[in-house]
Every structure is written in C-alpha cells, then in structure tokens.
Amino acid sequence: MGKSTVTTKDDAQALFHSLRSAYSSTPTHLKIIDLYVLFAVFTALIQVGYMAIVGSFPFNSFLSGVLSCVGTAVLAVCLRIQVNKENKEFKDLPPERAFADFVLCNLVLHLVIMNFLG
C-alpha cells in the first residue's frame, strides 16, 4: 500500500519533470502566448469569484468583463495553433498573416466589449 503510494508520487514527479523538460524546448514566442492565455483565464476566474460574492446585478458588465477574458484567451489559442511550426495544417500560412488576423479579431472583440460594458 505504502509502497504503491510512493511509486505513484514518484511517477507523478517523473511525469511533471518530463513535462517541464519537454516544455522548456518550446519556442519563446509560444511561451509568451501561453503566459498571455494564463493571464486571461486567471482574470476571468477572479471575476466569476467576485460575481459569486456580490451577486449578478450589473450582469451586462459581468458578461463583458468575463467574455473579454474568454475571447482574449480563445483568440490567443487560435494564434498559437497557427504560428506553431509543428502544426502541418497551417504550414502554408505565414505567421505575419496569423498575427494580423489576431489583431483584427481583438479589435472587433474589444469594440463589442466596450459597447456592452456600460
């Protein structure tokens, strides 16, 4: 019993180490995108927690706050898929084009968010 627990713990640690070493080989610009996605998800979670405390009164503000984070995260993930060299599906798409799409989509997203916020 005790032995298997130790084994499981070791396995988890081994897995974590292999993940970290694998992730360290990820290109920097993808890591930047990951950081950006983490920020967006974290901000969304904070807002959901806040809403659970104060209630859903300015519901439109809550929705625009959370959806701006979710939208940002989704767009960033899309950008990450398109600029990843290992994705053969998008190998014909230049990363500059992907970034331009990303910027355009973000502009539309924030325009909508601003309208819905008040």
């Binding site: 920020f39 967006a40 901000t43 104060v54 009164f57 503000s61 970034f99 008040g118």
Partner: protein, 401 residues
Amino acid sequence: MAKSLTYTIFISLICLLITLTHSFSTETPTDRRILVLLDDLALKSSHSIFFTSLQSRGFDLDFKLSDDPKIALQRYGQFLYDGLILFSPNTERFGGSLDVAGILEFVDSGKDLIVAADAGASDLIRSVAAECGVDFDEDPSAVAPVLFKGIGHSLNPANSLVLKVLSASPSAYSANPKSKLSTPPALYGSSISLVSVVQARNNARAVFSGSLDLFSNKFFKSPVQKAGSSNKFAKSGNEQFVTELSKWVFHERGHLKAVNVRHHRVGETDEPAIYRINDDLEYSVEIYEWSGSSWEPYVADDVQVQFYMMSPYVLKTMSNDKKGLFHAAFKVPDVYGVFQFKVEYQRLGYTSLSLAKQIPVRPFRHNEYERFIPTAFPYYGASFSTMAAFFIFSFVYLYSK
C-alpha cells in the same frame, strides 16, 4: 357705423344665448317625464298618494290607459319619457306601437321602469318581467295577507343583476289558498320574492312588484299588526317603502358620477402623455352622489383603482378627503406596454362606475440607465486590463525574436 352696431348686438346676443343654454343644462340624473300606463283610470284616484308624492317631487306624470292607441315611447328616434310605470297587470296588448321589445329597448337605453303585477297578471307583463330575470308565479294566489296582496315571483339564478327587496316570511308558500294542495308548492319560504329590483349594466333601473295594491292608498293607510304580536301600528310602512323605492328607481338616490380624473408623477402637476417603468405617480378622481337636488361628495373607503394591462398589475384602495376627492399613489410596475387606469365600482344600490383611461408605459431610455456602478468596477478593470494586456502582448510578441 350702423352695420358695426348691428354686428355687436348680434355677437352679444349669441353670447347671451350660449350663457343661457349653459345655465339650463345643469346635469341632473333624476328622471323628469314619466309615462304611467293604467288598466283603469280609477287607479289614478285609488293610488293617488303615490302619484301625488311623485308629482310633488317634481315628476311630470303622463297618465294613459294601456290600450290607448296613441301610446308611443319614442318619436323620431328620441325617447319621450325617462321612466315608465306599468300599473296595468291585466293588459294583454298595449295600444299604439308599444310591445315587449319596445319596453326592453326603452330599458336598454338606460331608462327606468316600475312594473306591478297582481293575481291576474297577463302574459305580456310576465314576459316583460321574465326578460329582466323575474319569473312571476303561475298560480294566481295571495302570498302574504298583510300589506301585500298579489303574487310572488322567483328570481332567475343566472341573472346576477336582479335583487330581492321584499321577500316573503320563512313560513310562506306560493299557492292558491282556496284550493287544496296536492303537491308541494314550487315556491316557498324566503325564496319567494315579493318586490325585486334590477339595475342593468347601463344603470337602467327597474322595480317588479307582485302586487299592484302595494302602491294603493288603502294599503298606505291601513293599520297593521304583526302576526303573533300585540304591537299595533296605526299605519303600514308601505308609504315609506314605496316612496324610497320610487326615489331609488327614478335615480333620486344612489346615483354616482365621477369627474376630474387626474394623474401625474409625484412632485409634478401636469399629466404626462407617457410614463416610464418604476415612475411614482398619483391618481385622483372626484366622485359625487346625487342627493335628489344637488351633487354631494361621496364618502366610501372601498373605491379601488387598477393599473391594468390584460390583468391588474396594481390594485389599490383610494383614500378620500370626505369632500369627494379620491386619491391613490403608487409605483408603475417594472413592465412596459399600454396600460389603463381603471375604476370599476359596483356597489349594491348605487349606479356602477366604470372609468378607463389609457396610458402607455415605456422602458428606460438608453441614457437613463445608471452609469459607472461601483459594483461593476472590477469588471471595468478586467476589460481594460485585457485591452492593456493585448497591447503589451503584441509588443512583446513582435520584438521578442
């Protein structure tokens, strides 16, 4: 010069005429012209106390025999009378053009009616009564020996407008006292109605009495003694009863009018064309009661106003200042649409009041919502921080290579 003088005189005459017309048109709901149809002109003297009391109260009675060929209730589409008294229980056919449909049309246009039957009531009288929800008993009999001699009647249970005024004693029954009873009588106890009143939805009033003698001088003056009691009264209560009944039926009593319906937002005086949801408003109406000679303030604490859109969203009892002004203040519900202020007042013995005034209610305008709510500051912060993060991310991403 002369021409302008004529002109001035003409104008002042017109003004005078308008003033005169206005001064004559004081609104009184009491009937003025009453047609009395009799079987026999002898009734005029045998019921003279009743007729004299009507005349002394200012009514203009027009006596006619019921088979008079010149009877007409209307001429050129205008009714000639405000009220009709049918003291002709035995008439099978009216003279002239009058028939049951004519009498019903008369009542339907808001005019008033007194019908008295007796033991020999004709089919004509019965059918007039039946149309108003009163079924006279078939059996020609005497129901109550005291003060009332005639036939009883039952009320149509489907008709909610008709009401017993005088009902028989609990031990009474309706049958012919001279014949032996083989089957139980159909009408008995206090379900026998002796005098009934109807107030139609258009406030036309009608009285149905099973006895013509109820109105007679003989019954007015006869002394009474209550069965099983030694108390003797020198005079029966008939005169008072009949007088009050006739006051009611000819709209000398119990007639209400509502004027000056007003509504406005709290703190304002002008009536708006439209309200916004959640506005606070005040509604007021003046209600007066006709006393027979003047309009007196109506005092009651059960008048309610509704704020109505297919169903009442607000139902509020109005307070009154004892001077006839009824007032209520309430908040417009959080629902927009076309509403009505409604006062539906139906109280027994009074004419019904039915007021409705339409008013639209709109939602908040786009710029009427609260702006910069403190509770929402974290959401604003989150939105702007993601925007800032987008800029920073773009720079970092582009220059990191």
